[in-house]
Symmetry: C2
Subunit: 329 residues, 2 copies
């Protein structure tokens, strides 16, 4: 990202996040021929074996070196697959095994740029019946390329006779955050940790990240959709991991006289900006990549960005609602 103003189009911002080639793109073949498919266990009469994610060769090699005989994974080099062992035939067994894998990698110092963000928070990987299939430490989930879930909330102050149009609350991330320090973000956002619900997580995060009371939020929060994109995140020169992401979206109508304030230290400051100020910062590349998409989606839903305003409108809308070839929540 550059901070040179007016350099990025909205489609550039989408492409920076939804950056895994589509099946119809020629570059898609390269992925098929290099990454390992991460599969559920085979020979279960109740559930077919399905794709759960993608494991890059550098990760597959370490898993094989450390866990070849641990009864956790089945490696097939010819088919380029890493499957969960069929002996791990319960949720608890799989969770215990994957926890051991993640903890061993962390303790032995593998994939530091990824596992330094260790959270002690578990993410769920779903099976085709939408039942939790396994749990994985949040920081370790990109190593398996599985879908992750979160909530993103846009706090807005409606246009009034005395204001210059609608304004949005835009925080700057703490400069101490392990990921994207100092970048601009959605009003409130958080990952969906097991076993919390989506709405409950949204309410909780509004309290923790913006100091907004539960009752206040419940009266003003509206579920407005979900964005999905397939992100490939370059953690370092030799670690470029797949992260299909699903962010449930809420709008939060904030009163003129309410000022969100950082509570948990994750936010450095809150700005109340109008569309023009937001546009300028978006185009300068100053937003955390996926947060930019949430604001673009907000503009689309609120008539602030129409099909005749934006040449890549259709591409932007469809690429922020990508369908993954995996079972999902």
């Amino acid at each position: 990202m550059t901070s040179d103003p007016a350099q990025l189009s909205l489609l550039d911002l989408v492409k920076a996040t939804d950056n895994v080639p589509y099946p119809e793109d020629p570059e898609h073949l390269e992925i098929k021929s290099s990454a390992y498919r991460f599969l559920s266990h085979a020979e279960d009469l109740a559930l077919p074996q399905v794709d759960l994610g993608l494991i890059v060769p550098a990760v597959a090699k370490v898993l094989k070196d450390l866990f070849a005989d641990a009864g956790i994974f089945v490696f097939d080099e010819a088919k380029l697959t890493v499957s969960i062992s069929k002996s791990l035939d319960t949720f608890d067994k799989r969770n215990e095994a994957i926890a051991k894998v993640a903890r061993t990698l962390k303790d032995q110092g593998y994939f530091k740029p990824v596992l330094d963000g260790w959270r002690n928070e578990l993410y769920v990987v779903f099976n085709p019946s939408k039942v939790p299939y396994l749990l994985v430490e949040r920081a370790a989930s990109p190593l398996f390329g599985v879908i992750t879930y979160g909530v993103h909330i846009t706090g807005y102050v409606p246009a009034s006779p005395t204001s210059s149009g609608m304004r949005l609350w835009v925080p700057r991330r703490s400069y101490q955050k392990p990921t994207f320090p100092g970048m601009l973000d959605n009003t409130v956002a958080g990952g969906l940790g097991y076993p919390y619900g989506i709405y409950d997580t949204a309410i909780k995060e509004c309290g923790e990240e913006a100091g907004l009371e539960e009752d206040y939020v419940k009266q003003r929060l509206t579920s407005v959709g979900v964005i999905t994109y397939w992100y490939r995140h370059k953690y370092s020169d030799d670690l470029n991991l797949f992260q299909p992401e699903c962010e449930y979206i809420y709008d939060l109508k904030i009163d003129e006289d309410t000022v969100p304030h950082p509570v948990d230290g994750e936010v450095a400051e809150f700005n109340l900006w109008n569309r023009e100020q937001l546009d300028k910062e978006l185009k300068a590349g100053n937003f955390k990549p996926n947060s930019a998409l949430v604001f673009i989606d907000f503009f689309v839903r609120h008539g602030l960005l129409g099909p005749e305003d934006e040449p890549d409108y259709l591409n932007i809308v469809s690429r922020t609602h990508r369908r993954f070839p995996y079972p999902a929540r």
Copy 2:
């Protein structure tokens, strides 16, 4: 579709419209091996040859029988492609040739269930630079499987202290319509004919289909997104055509005391229904298929259908925003 109440899930409604298999589905291979790719002309230095649509074998055969030596199409049976001839190197030449093809098919009585709906309205097929590449009679567009565009408008009356929540204006299509007679529909909808704009078409259709004045509409109309889905429409037992569709979506906030009224005879009646009445009719399969998706999208955007209310939420949202492997508007 059945009229047995409470038989269809929302995902069933989506699947009835977005019914072309995805690349990751096994059924996708069958399409690849049976339908002809419809391609732009080759050997143009300014523009690469690209996919524009899909032509089913029954249509390809007739095109070959009638136009093999007409300098319009290039047929490649080995590659399963039908390309525009490179001699048609201008927009005008292509339009003239395709108009001749459509007119000949119509006059000679081919594909009657499709061409009986002849409209004298032209649809645009775009090139990768988003410039119109060719025009095709609206009724003939499914024969080439190209993307078509329209506008769909949801008229709603906000909840008030005296009403039981938000209500939506739901028309029943005229029993004389060539397509989907007597089915329920979006408040207003229409195809995007050349050379009209998207917003202008929305305004015009509100006048024609609901008797709403231009100024009234302009003050209350909001652009809120676009839905896209890949529809395969069985016109008859041996004619099952591809129709990738793109519908620009608007919300129209209607005053309590405004009653839309049919003007052009395309609407039999208007109903003002709340969410529960709509749900009942949706689940009974009484809506025109793509109109059902627009109401579902409305529910999602307005907090009336959330991720914890609907087990197929994510799948529904992503399948109504499908990305097509073709250049688009």
